[in-house]
């Protein structure tokens, strides 16, 4: 019976690391962004909202190509990282992380934004009449009330990153231990017609993802029961 190779285990570890970090960073980035989008009356709201949604529209390989160009020596991101003395981010874990964040951004922003919008202005007005400053009200009222949306965002970001493929292929360069994640590993096995390896890895990925999604869904139900 074939089991997972060293390479595959490494890819699994890398995938989990990537998905966890992406989820964490996305929540940190998406929450204030979603808050701004849900509250602002600025004329920039629509353009920024559309920009955030773009990764949903672009095919991953196209998005990957633009990221590759942006991270390249003549791209804006590449210029920045070179000026900071970090070198180029393409084919690095950090680059992959940035790509994953961009790719999954709408999946994180939208549920949180919807949660903030569904909440309405009233809880914040109540908090203000109870002496809570806007920042205080954000953390003590808006965030706890938006918890189901935050959980959905976390679930989707994580799952989307685990399943990410086109972008990773494009900006990752398939380097073991650096940028070779499970999805590219499976792809490689399938293309090379090493179906046994591919099946084992795919089954593992399915089971793992299922468990993670199940746990998060159960957590969400518990949160939902407190807040009908």
């Amino acid at each position: 019976m074939p089991s997972l190779t060293e390479d595959s285990l490494q890819a699994i570890e890398l995938t989990i690391e990537l998905a966890s970090l992406t989820t964490l960073l996305l929540l940190l980035i998406a929450t204030p962004l979603a808050w701004w989008l849900s509250q602002t009356t600025s004329r920039w709201r629509a353009p920024v909202g559309a920009l955030v949604t773009l990764p949903l529209v672009l095919p991953p390989s196209v998005l990957g190509f633009y990221l590759l160009v942006a991270m390249g020596p003549h791209g804006p991101l590449g210029q920045l990282t070179q000026a900071l003395g970090w070198g180029l981010l393409s084919f690095t874990f950090t680059g992959l992380l940035i790509g994953s964040i961009v790719y999954s951004l709408p999946f994180a922003v939208q549920p949180i934004q919807h949660a903030f919008e569904a909440m309405g202005r009233r809880p914040l007005e109540v908090a203000a009449t109870l002496r809570a400053s806007p920042l205080d009200a954000f953390f003590s009222v808006a965030i706890p009330l938006a918890r189901p949306g935050l959980l959905t965002a976390a679930i989707l970001s994580f799952a989307h990153t685990v399943g990410e493929f086109g972008v990773v292929l494009m900006i990752g360069g398939n380097i073991p231990g650096q940028t070779r994640v499970v999805s590219t590993q499976i792809y490689g096995h399938v293309e090379a017609m090493e179906f046994a390896q591919a099946h084992w890895l795919a089954a593992g990925m399915l089971v793992f993802s299922f468990v993670v999604l199940l746990v998060l869904a159960l957590m969400k139900r518990r949160v939902g029961r407190v807040m009908p």
């Binding site: 007005e125 109540v126 203000a128 009449t129 109870l130 002496r131 009330l145 807040m227």
Partner: protein, 362 residues
Amino acid sequence: MSEAGLRLRLALSRPDFELDVDLGLPAVGISVLFGPSGSGKTTVLRCVAGLESTVRGSVRVGNEVWLDSATGIRLPVWRRNLGYVFQEASLFEHLDVRRNVEYGLRRTTTSRDGGDALQAAIELLGIGHLMARPVAQLSGGERQRVAIVRALATRPRLLLLDEPMAGLDYARRQDIMPWLERMRDELSIPMLYVTHSVDEVARLADQVVALDAGKVSAAGPAGEVLASLEGPVVGSDDAGSLVHAQIAERDHAWHLARAEFEGGHLWVVDAGHAVGKVVRLRVLARDVSIQLHEPAGTSVQNQLPAVIESIAEGLDGAQSLVRLRCGSALLLARLTRRSVSALELTSGKAVWAQVKAVAVTS
């Protein structure tokens, strides 16, 4: 108005609505903002609280200035020392009752003795037994009482209540009304109370401010505004007056009580108030009739000598509304125009007013 009172000058304009209000209100008691929906009641409340960013004018509570467009003062909501009870129960669903009522308390700078204020409010509204409950397990009436306690716990200089009973059914309203009456009688801060219910005005108001299309149409002590023939409720079935009286005697055999006021008394159904207690009697215009001579042999318990102050005709072609003075009390009587004509009723004429005892609420 005095330094201790509430002084409002508010101007706000929206495409379909103009608010223009200039008001002075006393430092204690409930001032009810009364009027049909769309008249701007809630907007006034929101302007006072600072929730409307486009309002201009001034808001002064005692010696604190919250808004003064002339000098550019505009305190943010959370810096205004107020309590606000919203129309629908706006408790924080993610916190239990205790954490809800402590939310504002934790954020007041004067929380040194805030614990006392909270305890007093908990007792005043009778929610001590609810403290450990999740918010989801409260009834509508309980939610509003918790919301009021939460607002009072911050020791506000001013309490704003926006139709706190609008979302409740009749039974729940009857549940919560005594608590609100207690607040009016025991708290020493001004309250602005928004409603469109005449019943709530009659039971709770010390002052009434009638609003119509963003402007004040009548303002003054509740008894006067309610008994005014030009007042906001004249046309309605609820037309009636308010009599402040004191329980002087209780007739336990017949379950009646005698309520005295300067220049007369009324027998009312005994509601359990102790002798000496000051009560508000609501006398509906449709329950008052007029006779030219002292009546005898009638089932009606109350006969009061009175003088006609004025008569409003043509409410609907068949009816008139007669305003009577009886000592310190004002009464309204709804009569047919034919009766007014047959009895030759005119201003200044002395008559007898009959009021059914059962018709008096307190």
